[in-house]
Each structure stands twice: as C-alpha cells, then as structure tokens.
C-alpha cells in the first residue's frame, strides 16, 4: 500500500465545487501571509514533530486552504510549536501563528 504520509484525505478528489471554504477564508483573512507559501517544504523538512511522526505541516495547511478540514485539527495537534519552521521559512510566514490559528478555527475556541 502506498503511504500517503497521513490519512486525512479520504476522498481522493479535492472538489472545490463542493468544499466549504468559509473556514479557509477566515484563516486567510487573519493570516494573509499564508498565501505567500511557495511550498518549498523547508518547514516540513526541519519539523521536530515531523522527524518523529508523519505530520506534514505544509500539506495540512494547504489542505485546509482548499477546504479539506477533516483530520487537520488532530494533525496540527502533533506540532510541538518549537518554532524551527518559522526560523527556516524563506517566505517569512509566521508558521507557529498558523498552527495556532488553524487549531483555533477548527477547534472553535
């Protein structure tokens, strides 16, 4: 079986006609800089939690932006907030802030 890294995307197609993008828009509104991500993967490569689990920050936040929320909260909970990702991000994205924001939006607190 192919290991897709983590198991949050059950249906294979990201259906932007059906996905509810409200939460995604809220995330972008509060943290517009997230849109500057060029997907270089530095964050995921350096990630302390990613070193130990299948947590992939780049993938999770990208899926959240596409309206794929299922499992994202649980995935983000693997993050230790150590801050290495923020230190390596070439786009200067406040990655720790993104983790906290996505958890707040998806966890409703």
């Amino acid at each position: 079986m192919i290991n897709f890294g983590f198991s949050i995307n059950k249906p294979r197609v990201i259906d932007l006609n059906r996905n509810n993008l409200n939460k995604s828009k809220e995330v972008i509104k509060e943290m517009p800089e997230l849109q500057a991500c060029i997907g270089c993967g530095s964050c995921t490569a350096t990630c302390t939690a990613g070193n130990l689990t299948e947590f992939n920050f780049r993938k999770v936040h990208t899926l959240v932006r596409r309206g794929e929320y299922q499992g994202a909260y649980e995935e983000m909970n693997k993050c230790m907030l150590c801050g290495k990702c923020r230190l390596v991000c070439p786009r200067g994205i406040n990655t720790r802030g993104v983790v906290m924001l996505i958890k707040r939006k998806l966890g409703d607190f």
């Binding site: 890294g5 270089c40 993967g41 530095s42 964050c43 992939n56 070439p90």
Partner: protein, 337 residues
C-alpha cells in the same frame, strides 16, 4: 575630447569602455582589483553553450587593447562619484564629463545560512568554489577522494526573507543545471541531485539544457528546499528536505553539497546612494531612471549604469548593458551641445 570614467572592470565595464572608445571618447576604466575581468575570472564555462569564460574575457581584453584613448587603472577604488568628478581611495581626483557605474554585485556569503554548514563541514562548497575547482581541473572531496553522490541546492541567499534577500538571482537555476551536467561529465558514475523550489529557465537554450540534464545525464531533480545539514556517522553530509511532490520527508547522505549562492546588491551601493543622490531599490540594487527606455541611466544626469549594478544579470545581458550604456552616454553628451 570628452572624458568618460567607467567604474568597474567586469564584463559590463570592459564592454562599455571599449564601445565608448570606439565612439571617440577618452575613457578611464577603474578596477579595484589588480586585474580586469571581475567575477567572470572565477568562472569556468558559461551556460548554456559551455563557452569557456576565458574566451569571452580574452575577447574583451583584445577589444580594450586595440582601442585608442583608454586608460586602465587597476587597483583603483572609486569612493566618491559625481557626474563631473570621481574621487579614488588613494585620494586622487579625476575630472570627467560623464560616469558609468558598472560595479556589479556581491556574492552572497553562504556562511550566513549557518544551517547549511558552509565553513563548518568539509565538502559543503558554493557554486563559485565549484567553478574554481573546474578551473583547476580538480573536483574532489577534502580528503582527495571522488564524490559519489552530490547534492546541489538552489536559492541560497535568494528568495529568502530570513537573510533579507527577497529577489530571485535568476542565474542560479541554470548554473545548477550546468554544473550538474559538468559534474556528470566528470564523474558519470556519480549521482547528482538538484534540490529546487522552482526551476526558472528564462533564457534561450536553458530549457533545452534542463531537459538534456534530465534525459541525457540522469541528473535528479527533487522539488524541495534543504532545511539543514549535519554530519552523519559515516562522515557523510546528512541532508534533510521535504520531497514536496510526494509530500514526504526526504533524508540522504551525500559526499558533497554545492550551494548555489545568489547575487546580492553590491556592498558599496548604499554608500554611493547616500553620497551621490542615487536611488536604491528595496533589494539594494540601484534603481535605473526607468525600467524600459532609460534602463542604463541613473536618476542623476550624467551618471549611467551598466551590468549587475541594477539587477542580477547573466553575462550576455551585462555585455549588452555595457554597449547600451555607451550609446546612452554618447546621446546624452550630444544633446548637451
């Protein structure tokens, strides 16, 4: 006879000085180093044609040697610039009718990206170091053995907010492809990996060369930026990246890591800007009067730009700039009559 001073003896400055002399101006070419040529002196072959850099340089030297009325002053660093006078570090002052600044760029210091281990671990080298090795015909690891696995990392000191270099240096992608091919020609058995964020093949023949690297030379391309390098148990360099196309972390030991260091605005730019009323761009490169019709003129009358002083440029573009600036100087002086 009008006197023009060209500051900087790299390809753009040499070209400009030769063109000005051909238009019957008295030219003084200032070079801070002891020899002409600038950065190209360190290069081995030029992309995408693999033309030896020496060939271009000797062509320019010949052009200068044949020209009349050119004074070449090596070891002369300009410290104050105005359109009528240039002061040298030696204290000497030169009068003139126009100035062309062709001081080029500064190479990004890879030690600043500490996590890549340049200056810490043996066998982490920059693209400039590799060119030097090619020139010496001696590409080896520190201990003298031949590398079996080489990684080339793109965008070191370019497109990186963390080192305050937002801009794309534009030539590194193609340099990475060129160096990968050269390495493969040298060591066909070695595996060469290019780690990139985006591959920007903007020039004629570049895309074709990229394809050749993939198809003919089996160079591997991994879309992901290396986040850190550490020594591993068998003394290799352990690199960490995400293979973003599969969405999974990638780890590998390599014998050699080549950092494609970017072009940074010349260190002297801010000094010139402050003292001569010249405008800098946010990237630190000088701001031409406009990007289209006056792209080799500065915002100050009588001061012109040629080459990588205004933006990262490849050798061909720098040469064109030199010739254009010469024409612009001529047109400006004639319009003043």
């Amino acid at each position: 006879m009008k006197h023009i001073i060209v500051i900087g003896g790299g390809v753009a400055g040499m070209q400009c000085a030769a063109e000005l002399a051909a238009h019957n101006f008295k030219v003084t070419l200032l070079e801070k180093d002891s020899d002409m040529g600038g950065k190209i002196r360190g290069w081995h072959k030029l992309f995408p044609t693999f033309t030896p850099a020496d060939e271009v340089l000797s062509g320019l030297r010949l052009k200068l040697a044949q020209a009349q009325n050119i004074t070449i002053m090596t070891g002369s660093k300009a410290v104050e610039i105005s359109s009528t006078k240039v002061a040298l570090a030696s204290g000497k002052e030169l009068e003139c009718d126009a100035v062309v600044i062709a001081t080029g760029y500064t190479l990004f210091d890879a030690r600043i990206k500490e996590e890549y281990g340049y200056g810490i671990y043996d066998n982490v080298i920059t693209s400039a170091d590799l060119e030097e090795m090619f020139n010496k015909g001696d590409v080896r690891m520190k201990d003298g053995s031949t590398p079996r696995r080489i990684a080339i990392l793109h965008c070191v000191g370019s497109r990186d907010e963390k080192v305050c270099q937002r801009h794309c240096s534009k030539v590194c992608c193609v340099t990475g492809v060129k160096q990968a091919i050269e390495l493969k020609q040298l060591y066909p058995a070695a595996d060469v990996f290019n780690f990139y964020m985006d591959i920007r093949m903007f020039g004629p023949g570049y895309e074709e060369m990229y394809r050749e690297a993939q198809q003919t030379y089996n160079v591997h391309f991994v879309r992901g930026r290396i986040s850190e390098v550490s020594p591993n148990i068998d003394k290799r360099l352990q690199i960490k990246a995400e293979d973003t196309l599969t969405g999974r972390p990638l780890r590998m030991g390599v014998d050699m890591l080549v950092l494609l260091t970017g072009m940074r605005a010349n260190d002297d730019n801010s000094h010139f800007a402050a003292n001569s009323n010249l405008r800098c761009q946010p990237s630190g490169f000088m701001q031409p009067r406009d990007s289209f019709l006056h792209n080799t003129e500065s915002n100050v009358e009588g001061i012109f730009y040629a080459g990588a002083i205004t933006a990262p440029k490849n050798v061909g573009e720098a040469l064109n700039d030199g010739a254009t600036a010469a024409l612009r100087v001529k047109a400006w002086l004639e319009s003043k009559k």
